[in-house]
């Protein structure tokens, strides 16, 4: 059975008429010395690494936001998510030159003759189309997303997530088909090392260096939006860590969330409800009269930027103690927002009892700006910005 299937897959397909072999399909059409196995192997290896890093860090970000039952994200180290998500976006940016250079290096393969030698070859080429389509999709949508540009007609997060699985699957198949060729291309005994045809443009090493420099320049001009130490380099980042109300960027403004009037309503109360012996309903003054704690924590956005703030407010664990429960509980934090995907967030595990997890009332010593969640917002260590719920009015103990 297997033997018959293999025979079918490898049986030569009829050759198309030679008359069709025109233009780029003609032999020897691509003369550049850069269309070369060793160059393709190095670029392929680099892309294998950057795509794998993007996939793993993307899975982490997805799991934090939609946790499966077995997944628990810790509250420490404080900057772990900042590192994984910064890495996700920066490796994605570094992949732009790598991907285009790789596609250009192997471009003659697109025009190989005959287009399909047998059924197995045809399937392999179809899987390459999936790989190229998926890789371009991820890069294009990712670049647009960090610049808050959504011209696609689908919801970015969902499409980017599921396409990542398709792309990585196609990459694994590609590794299966190319492993030995790449190994030969990368080996120290590769004949490509000894002889390089003469030419006047970039050499192979020069080309690879150019691609590396391009990735480096792109990342260097943006990484300052993620890494505080490199903030001065941030010339082209879609955000600046110090630009925004109270010198901190905002993702969704109060106006965009249609929450301004509710947030400024003097009748505001913070409620602690659900499975508690003593439900609470506290005015802003009562909250401010409780013991105040400080926390230096970043807002870490899924778009890759992060910015440090010094927050102060009531520890969530103090609030729970007043309501008569410990920290071994799950909480649903609810916003005054009338709707939206991020109206509520779950707080569980080590985040609940962490002394840095606050319902913050102040930022940088001043009352929260309404765009930062006035009257009261959640701020917790090692957590994506979309889960740092703003305009909090209810904490439900589940």
């Amino acid at each position: 059975m297997v033997r018959r299937a293999l025979a079918l897959l490898t049986r030569p397909l009829p050759q198309p008429p030679r008359l069709l072999r025109q233009g780029p399909l003609r032999p020897g059409r691509f003369k550049s010395r850069l269309h070369n196995e060793r160059v393709a192997s190095f670029l392929g290896l680099a892309l294998g690494i950057t795509f794998s890093v993007c996939f793993v860090t993307g899975l982490i970000s997805h799991a934090i936001q939609h946790p499966p039952s077995w997944f628990l994200w810790p509250s420490r180290p404080v900057n772990l998510y900042r590192a994984t998500q910064g890495l996700h976006v920066m490796t994605g940016l570094a992949s732009v030159p790598l991907l285009l250079a790789k596609l250009w290096t192997v471009y003659p393969k697109l025009w190989e003759w005959p287009p399909a030698r047998n059924l197995a070859h045809a399937i392999e080429r179809a899987s390459l189309f999936v790989l190229v389509g998926g890789a371009m999709f991820q890069i294009v949508t990712g670049l647009a997303n960090i610049a808050y540009w959504y011209p696609f007609g689908f919801f970015f997060t969902t499409a980017h997530y599921w396409t990542a699985w398709i792309t990585i699957g196609a990459m694994v198949v590609h590794i299966g088909t190319r492993a030995t060729v790449a190994r030969r291309g990368l080996s120290r005994t590769s004949p490509d090392l000894a002889a390089e045809p003469a030419g006047s443009g970039l050499s192979r090493r020069g080309f690879l260096t150019t691609v590396g420099v391009a990735s480096g320049v792109i990342v260097a001009s943006i990484i300052g939006e993620s890494a505080p130490a490199l903030r001065d380099l941030n010339l082209l980042g879609p955000r600046r860590a110090d630009v925004g109300p109270q010198s901190l960027p905002v993702n969704k403004s109060a106006a965009a969330a249609r929450v301004t009037d509710r947030a400024r309503d003097p009748a505001y109360r913070l409620q602690v409800a659900g499975a508690v012996p003593h439900p609470l309903s506290l005015t802003l003054a009562e909250l401010a009269a409780m013991p105040q704690a400080g926390a230096g924590l970043p807002i870490t956005c899924v778009e890759g930027w992060s910015a440090d703030g010094h927050w102060s407010g009531v520890r969530v664990r103090d609030l729970l103690a007043r309501a008569g429960v410990g920290t071994d509980v799950r909480l649903r934090i609810e916003s005054l927002q009338p709707g939206g995907l991020y109206r509520t967030s779950m707080l569980e595990g080590s985040h609940v009892g962490d002394p840095l997890t606050l319902l913050a009332l102040r930022l940088g010593g001043r009352v929260l700006h309404v765009d930062h969640g006035y009257p009261c917002r959640l701020i917790a260590p090692n957590r994506p910005g979309v889960l740092q719920t703003k305009w909090v009015h209810r904490v439900v103990v589940l």
């Binding site: 196995e37 371009m136 647009a144 969902t158 398709i166 020069g206 391009a214 010339l235 082209l236 600046r240």
Partner: protein, 162 residues
């Protein structure tokens, strides 16, 4: 006497025998792709498969059918204008500049700006891009100058003025 060298591999060189374990990777890869496809289809209200397909297939087709040939011809024609001695380093500068512009195009276009939120895309991207490109081309100039003094092995021989 120079030893006879094996010719360098073109992309169409004879392939070595494939790795025996490849079928495991084919199975894992196919299963992973199916996970993604299933996810896309079960969340069709968010992923909008027709729009998804347009970007997915459109990206590959536009790249292969338009982008790659245009870039190849532009580089080929453009590089003839540069003396052979500096051709490589100028090509490098052009490639880095082009890739940088592509990567920050969404910021340059600025379609993501929001009236109610000035912290989104707050920078003068046009001016900052020119500044960064200035840095890149300063590097190119320095390399050209260095090249006039030295002949580093970094650049390939350029005996043939093709």
């Amino acid at each position: 006497m120079t030893p006879e060298l094996e010719p360098p591999r073109t992309l169409s060189a004879e392939e070595p025998p494939r790795w025996r374990g490849r079928f495991v990777l084919y199975a894992v890869g196919a299963a992973t792709m199916l996970v993604g496809l299933r996810g896309l289809l079960t969340h069709a209200s968010s992923t909008s498969p027709p729009h998804w397909l347009l970007i997915f297939a459109g990206g590959a087709v536009l790249h292969d059918g338009l982008w790659a040939p245009v870039v190849a011809v532009a580089l080929l024609v453009g590089s003839r204008l540069v003396p052979t001695a500096y051709r490589a380093v100028v090509q490098g500068g052009v490639v880095v500049s082009g890739l940088l512009v592509l990567a920050v195009l969404p910021e340059l276009l600025g379609y993501g700006r929001k009236a109610d939120n000035p912290s989104v895309l707050p920078q003068a991207y046009g001016r900052h891009l020119l500044l960064t490109l200035g840095g890149v081309w300063l590097g190119v100039l320095l390399l050209v100058g260095w090249r006039r003094l030295h002949r580093p092995p970094f650049f390939a021989p350029d005996e043939s003025a093709d």
